[in-house]
């Protein structure tokens, strides 16, 4: 199939605004009379609040309102388990707990006012280790829950693991641990809330979930006594998402309440410090994993037990086991699977979704353990993966129906480019190679009751197209990919397609930008809407050109007869002809697309996604045995993307993912000491700089997914899923030490080398 616009490197549509400084981010929003809100956080990770005195702050000139928990309805809670009051009145459970908030005519005055609020605490013993929190005698953090163990019984059992274990020729068992890492969006979080005269709320927001946030804010208004109001969410240009904005947060409800009290727009924008300690990171995990294979290397079982530090409250982090199940049950063919995960309340920061949604933690364990099994069985790690690679048409133990699957090609291609056979197992010059693969949802993910996205299309008198989509753009390029899909279908230049994607008053519903779903779901939604408008367009053109509709083609905004190309008419003229006439008409169409995927059932089975994305990463490292430093000499990332709608943006997703993944593997870690974040700044928390960029080769495998728009599957998250295990495996190949705890710092490598040499 040949395309005019699909598969082309089309620059991102909003890039001109961004390179000139014209794009408006949340901190750039200014409304008349706007006030600035600031939040007072807890001094202690666990304490009873005895008294809060805000009287001095209230008297400070320029302060317009001060609020505490008393100003919210008593039982109002937010979050996935509704366990988080936006302001805490009686007890604090972490150092990021919000106690009071102020708004004033300037941020400086608001800040000064915070210093005038005095809080009396009775300090309680904190629990910072989930294993301690799980003990019978541990103090209960949420009395209303009655236990520190969340009532989320993540448990997947397929086949008979015990039996398979006994019958396996080789079995390995390991424990892996991962750290907290944070999104580090370059723009900090924030919002501007204001109420109009009818008490309808407008929120300027960074959210990744405009439609769900709208619903949650409506609930908040109802709780505040404002029934039957409207909430309008206007997304500004979003300065990075990566999952951080998949939930609503206390600061948003605080801004809403301050705006309601003052009847003025209230802006809250986080400082970088707040962004580090008061947003929700990827959770740390403790993973016990056992895998086995038969004599020929065929996997027999996989058993995984996981403990997740949930932190003090519950956001989407607690649901990441639903995604961890995916690689655990379905990465490579493994007939018997058992997985349990326990989420535990502690006095640490509470966790959230982050690019990959649990998959990187699970894949680190699976793929590291697989190399261990390769060693145990004496089978080359490459061969072990090829033997067990998933194939199209397979149904996995969890019930995933694999349609397209390019995993084998990915593994082969990576091995070829790494020169695997030559380099593997030599340990020459302390160099080594490693690989790891991934499966991820590539056709949406039915985590919510709807996985849908709506699109409205209209064409104007000038042949231009406006597409109103529910999709959100967080920099990944939804605006551009949707324009390409519509332009390709309609036969108009991509510049003529305008994508509007940031206002709930205008745009249809969408579940949010998560699960690498936007190209697939919003893309399909746009494609079907485009097909509908095209049908109407062809009928009109067939009349104007006096040929049957099947004979009409459109290219570059010109319609013509295929059999007699002399007969032609510019689209703009055709559209005007049917508009400016008695009983005239204009072209509009809509479509709501909800993919054919399934919610997981009570046993956590079901076809979660309409398609699955696969990939393999390979890396060559050199380990300095004097310093423990790991240098990446070469990095290859192969991804089965279905079809590359826009290779430029696609590569951008992979490069960006790989670099975040390398940070996750080697340098990033939030250091918490008894509930206090110790390295909440860019100096001490190391995200990678341009100096850390290794040579990265990208391999795109196209498998043409039938259900995807023009064959595409998702690619937003996969780029960082297998990075850490690929690196860990390469380090083992280079110097024979296996690091089971992320990040793989020079100190850990040195320590392991020392132990190995002793042994």
């Amino acid at each position: 199939m040949s395309f005019n616009i699909i598969g082309k490197k089309i620059p991102k549509k909003d890039a001109p605004f961004k390179v000139t400084g014209q794009a408006l981010y949340i901190d750039d929003v200014e409304l008349p009379g706007m006030l600035y809100g600031k939040i007072l956080y807890s001094k202690y990770p666990h304490a009873r609040i005895l008294h809060i005195d805000t009287s001095k702050a209230e008297k400070l000139p320029g302060v317009k309102a001060v609020i505490t928990a008393k100003d919210f309805p008593p039982h109002f809670r937010i979050g996935f388990m509704k366990d988080n009051p936006p302001l805490k009145g009686t007890k604090v459970l972490s150092t990021r707990d919000e106690i009071a908030a102020v708004c004033a005519i300037s941020p400086e005055i608001a800040e000064e006012a915070l210093d005038l609020i005095s809080v009396e605490y009775e300090v309680l013993q904190g629990i910072f280790d989930p294993l301690v929190a799980m003990r019978e005698d541990a103090p209960i953090l949420h009395e209303e829950v009655g236990s520190n163990i969340l009532k989320l019984p993540w448990r997947l059992v397929c086949g008979d693991v015990e039996k398979a274990k006994k019958e396996s020729a080789y079995v390995v068992e390991d424990t892996f641990t991962t750290q907290w890492v944070t999104h580090c969006c370059l723009a900090t979080s924030g919002c501007v809330a204001y109420f109009d005269v009818n008490n309808n709320l407008t929120m300027y927001s960074n959210t990744q979930i405009p439609s769900l946030a709208q619903n949650e804010f409506l609930e908040a208004l109802t709780a505040l006594g404002l029934r039957n109001r409207r909430v309008r969410i206007i997304q500004v240009t979003i300065g990075g998402g990566f999952g951080s904005k998949l939930d609503t947060y206390p600061y948003e409800y605080i801004a809403i309440l301050l705006a309601l009290k003052t009847r003025k727009p209230v802006k809250i924008v986080f400082s970088r410090d707040e962004e580090f300690f008061a947003t929700s990171p990827r959770q740390c995990t403790i993973t016990k994993i056992s895998q086995g294979c038969d004599r020929d290397g065929r996997l027999t079982f996989r058993e995984v037990e996981m403990i997740l530090d949930n932190g003090a409250y519950t956001s989407w982090g607690a649901t990441t086991p639903s995604v961890m199940m995916m690689p655990i049950s379905s990465l490579y063919r493994v007939p018997n699977v058992k997985y349990t995960a326990t989420c535990v309340y502690t006095n640490n920061t509470y966790c959230q979704a982050m690019r990959g949604y649990g998959n990187p933690q699970a894949t680190f364990a699976i793929e590291s353990s697989l190399d261990h099994l390769a060693e145990e069985s004496g089978i080359d790690p490459y061969d072990l993966r090829i033997i067990n690679a998933n194939e199209p048409g397979e149904i996995t133990p969890q019930g995933f129906r694999v349609t397209t699957c390019g995993l084998k090609e990915c593994i082969e291609e990576v091995a070829k480019r790494l020169n695997w056979k030559e380099k593997r197992g030599r340990g020459l010059k302390k160099r080594g190679v490693g690989i790891a693969s991934l499966i991820h949802v590539g056709g949406g993910a039915r985590v919510y009751k709807s996985d849908g996205c709506g699109t409205i299309i209209k064409m104007d008198d000038f042949g231009k197209v406006d597409v109103f989509t529910g999709a959100s753009d967080i920099g990944q390029g939804a605006d551009t990919v949707i324009a390409q899909i519509v332009a390709e279908e309609l036969g108009v230049p991509v510049e003529d397609v305008n994508v509007i994607h940031n206002d709930t008053d205008i745009c249809p519903w969408d579940v949010g930008v998560h699960a690498s779903r936007t190209t697939f779901v919003a893309g399909n939604s746009a494609l079907f809407a485009a097909k509908k408008i095209k049908k109407k367009l062809l009928e009109i053109l067939s009349k104007l050109l006096e040929v049957p509709p099947e004979d009409v083609a459109i290219k570059n905004g010109i319609a013509f007869s295929k059999s007699d190309p002399q007969k032609s008419i510019p689209l703009a003229r055709a559209l005007r002809r049917i508009h400016f006439t008695t009983g005239g008409s204009m072209l509009m169409a809509e479509h709501f697309y909800d993919p054919q995927n399934e919610n997981l059932n009570k046993e956590f089975r079901g076809n979660l996604s309409a398609a699955y994305a696969y990939g393999t990463h390979g890396v060559e490292v050199e380990v300095d045995t004097e310093t423990g430093k790991v240098k990446i000499l070469k990095y290859v990332a192969a991804h089965d993307v279905g079809r590359a709608i826009n290779p430029l943006l696609l590569e951008g997703q992979i490069y960006g993912g790989v670099l975040q993944g390398i940070g996750y593997a080697l340098s990033e870690k939030m250091i918490y000491d008894n509930g206090y974040l110790k390295n909440g700044n860019f100096l001490d928390y190391k995200i990678l700089t341009v100096r850390d960029v290794p040579p990265v080769e990208i391999v795109i495998i196209e498998t043409n997914e039938e259900a995807g728009p023009f064959g595409a599957k998702g690619i937003g998250e996969p780029g960082l899923v297998p990075t850490a295990p690929a690196i860990a495996n390469a380090i083992y190949d280079a110097v024979g030490v296996r690091i089971r705890d992320l990040p793989i710092t020079p100190e850990k490598v040195l320590k392991a080398l020392k132990e190995k040499n002793k042994g």
Partner: protein
Amino acid sequence: MKREIKFKLNGEEVTAEVESHWTLLYFLREVLKLKGTKEGCGYGECGACTVVIDKMAVNSCLFPVMEVNGKDVLTIEGISGPGEALHPLQKAFIEEGAVQCGFCTPGMIMSAYALFEEKKNPDDEDIKEAIEGNLCRCTGYVKIIDAINAAKRGK
């Protein structure tokens, strides 16, 4: 205490009353309402606030506004020509896919701009040195380097 300063901003003479504790970033964003220069940290570690002062890239979040007196300041708003004529760096960032969320972009471009002021023909090492203080969480930097190289060739 307010003081008067005079300096050149994006090619035009500016005279302004400023508080001595203001940073240049504060003055640009909050007083002049030039929102193109971004604040990513406020303490000199991310480069989002980079502007060019007398041909040198500077973190405006740390730079006291008093010190621009008599100097020549360029921000992202000042490097393109009138109308649609973008600077070659801006064009290259668009075409090479060096922009995702875009929050780091103005700072990146200004750092690269200063590099071109200093060296007509920078190599990859020069480019890395020029933007090592500019963090980007989205792109993995690869396409940013490509863009700066493309702009160099296009000059």
